[in-house]
Symmetry: C2
Subunit: 426 residues, 2 copies
């Protein structure tokens, strides 16, 4: 794109001026007290965070929509994402100009620069939005097939409905946490063996699920569906998401009303929302669908994004993370826009800041599946992580998701989404 | 109890001084403009609403916990319910004293009385809390059995897990609406017949579900379960709930991840939260459970409440509602406290104001089932509503739930929970 920032950005950085993902942060206690520690929106640029509350207070958002808007003086991004695409475009243009090497206003004002550009290492990242509702889809065919084979056998691994609609369930919004938050191993019930009562105790099948999630923009009123062809205007951007799963709890509880305690103990998202505008250069055709979807799911622009995804595990007591799987967002059968249109076709209202998980993103190859359930085939094929054997996650294991789109001379990256397993409570 | 209020209360009122349920209201535009129209908490007394923001501002909450608390100067009850049982007890004692015929402070102050006692007909009721998450249980054995028979056949109508844990799913919080809100008939996909593609259009099996729901009090931190024997301290009170359901959409989508669009188009709750303290005289022993629950679900006080429930339908174009079913809260197999303890056993955090639906409350007799699915056996046994035939709900039908506990010389009632079906969008 030929954009260059006056902020120095390493060539391998996830956050060059072409990206500018949004998050919410708080300056670490070391560099500010009292009011200074209030959460506020920022964008990532190289190793820095640009404090949008300062940029806004300095009057630098001078476009028609954002000029007098308090949207960056909030503790969350909900107000900003609720403004819709024209505001997002305006903010992006303004920020790319302000950060450009050719624009003196910030570049040459060292006192303002010091106030609004903070080292990433000196801020604490928080959840970017208040999540009213969190929905998790099930949009990778390979994942659906593998789960069906494991849980229900080879007869008909994928239910017929799966090919007609983007299957989803409501997740638990209260336990969505930001990357880095420790995850306590949940306790719960699991299948009884023979005629014995069900097992109760810490889960023995602790798993991750490699997902991404959309952050909803303006959303819709109750009773007014969003057309699939304008659905993209209701998606602000994407984050990485780890839908931690206790497979033994899930398997015992999920019939007939779906996953509940096997999932609700924690869901981790990455802090930086990468906008669809930044992802535009990485758009690619989504898989052809057979059978053809119903008209309300038929879209004129049927796209995925080419986002390479990696899962690394740092086993308890070890120094080095091991790459366990590599997948790609483009493996999704149902697109984000189809998911959103389906979600609202019954009139269900989406609100700004809602979270829509894609479901586990598994590819067709063995090394591209998105969870240990598939990778170890429910524990039957233990994996060797550089000398450490794993069926499922052990206490002290740290799971790290990474995603980075490779552009011509720049990246559009997501940073990482991490969580470490803590022992169950006694 | 011998309590008498200076506010005149009809003998058949749901809201005598023994009840004092909490809600959030806004004076109708007719009787106030500008600031006067802001939502604020109130309690119901006879045909009046006591404005707690006015009571609080007048300094009449003089107990140690509520004296300087801003909890009644909020637009929702979240802060108050988050304070916990000691605050609830203090508020109840203070309000019963203030409203008592023997207490002059309000009785004899006509200007204050006029400011804080509003006619119920002149206020608009709103959702009582901001609902962070809404969970729906499945705790009536009769309902579970009937659904199993209808959807899966007679082989094993109730899954084995049902007897070991209170099955539940996450519901959609955004579409929970207050009593009286019209419900637009949802559109969606339903089962294909033979080799044809799935049906798409307005649901042909619009149903209600007779439920009650608990409003969560203080709740818990992520990772810290609530013991079943203190779970009652985390339940502020109960409301009536209609979990509107589109049976054809639900049947096609729900395997394997549970109900989604068949439910998420709307869930109606009644405006007045009746506290567990007011319900205490109606506590009764809950059903003996076999098999014995696991230790984390075994409670020293295993109680339900004797709350008679009624469903009335006013068919489109008719004047008079018809009683279609009569059930009772005491039909629940899993108690509220078991539901709450189970919900948190994996560490899942509940927040003040969360909503926990009981699931459809069906009794053992034909006339006591809690939805049309059961009553008409999925449309196979149409019901005659005083000359009008119904398999499922038609456009223009109004559904009214009522609940009222009969005490010695007084009621503790819930008022009603209503909704009228509007035609699907074209
Ligand atoms: Ca998932
Ligand atoms: Ca229900
Ligand atoms: Mg989760
Ligand atoms: Mg509902
Ligand atoms: Ni929710």
């Amino acid at each position: 794109m030929g954009l260059i920032s006056f902020v120095e950005v390493d060539l391998d950085s996830h956050f060059p001026i072409e990206n500018l993902p949004y998050g919410v942060f708080r300056p670490s206690s070391a560099c500010g007290g009292g009011d200074a520690a209030a959460p506020r929106p920022g964008v990532a640029i190289g190793d820095f965070v640009l404090d949008l509350s300062v940029v806004s207070s300095a009057g630098l958002f001078d476009g028609p929509i954002l000029k007098n808007s308090p949207c960056f003086l909030q503790a969350s991004l909900n107000m900003f994402v609720g403004l819709g695409r024209p505001a997002w475009k305006e903010a992006r243009l303004t920020l790319q100009r302000l950060l450009s090497v050719d624009e003196p206003i910030l570049r040459d004002n060292s006192s303002l620069r010091e106030k609004c550009l903070l080292k990433m290492s000196e801020v604490e990242m928080l959840l970017p939005t208040v999540i009213g509702d969190y929905t998790d889809f099930f949009s990778s065919m390979h994942h659906a097939k593998n789960c069906g084979l494991i849980f229900r056998g080879p007869a008909k691994p994928i239910q017929e409905n799966w090919f007609h609609l983007p299957i989803a369930y409501h997740g638990r919004a209260s336990s969505v946490v930001i990357s880095g938050t420790p995850i306590v191993r949940p306790r719960g019930q699991a299948y009884p063996t023979g005629s014995s009562p069900p097992y109760f105790g810490p889960t023995q099948k602790m798993d991750f699920e490699l997902e991404m999630a959309a952050i909803v923009g303006p959303g819709n009123e109750l009773g007014k569906p969003i057309d699939v062809n304008i659905a993209a205007d209701h998606i602000f951007g994407l984050v990485l998401m780890n839908d931690w799963s206790a497979r033994d709890i899930q398997a015992w509880e999920y019939v007939p009303l779906g996953p509940f305690l096997g999932k609700s103990f924690g869901t981790t998202i990455s802090p930086w929302i990468v906008t669809l505008d930044a992802l535009e250069p990485f758009a690619c055709e989504a898989p052809k669908q057979d059978p053809e979807p119903l008209p309300y799911l038929t879209e004129s622009k049927h796209v995925n994004y080419d986002i390479p995804l990696e899962v690394w595990i740092k086993p308890a007591g070890h120094e080095h993370p091991v790459l366990v799987t590599s997948s790609n967002f483009s493996n999704l059968y149902w697109t984000l826009t189809q998911q959103l249109a389906h979600h609202t076709i019954n009139g269900c209202n989406l609100r700004p800041g809602d979270l829509l998980g894609t479901g586990t993103i598994s590819g067709p190859e063995e090394g591209s599946v998105g969870c240990l359930l598939e990778l170890t085939w429910n524990g039957q094929k233990p994996q060797n992580l550089n000398g450490t054997i794993r069926k499922f996650l052990e206490d002290g294991d740290e799971v790290v998701f990474k995603a980075c789109c490779k552009g011509k001379g720049y990246n559009v990256g997501f940073g990482s989404c991490t969580g470490k397993i803590q022992p169950a409570i006694p």
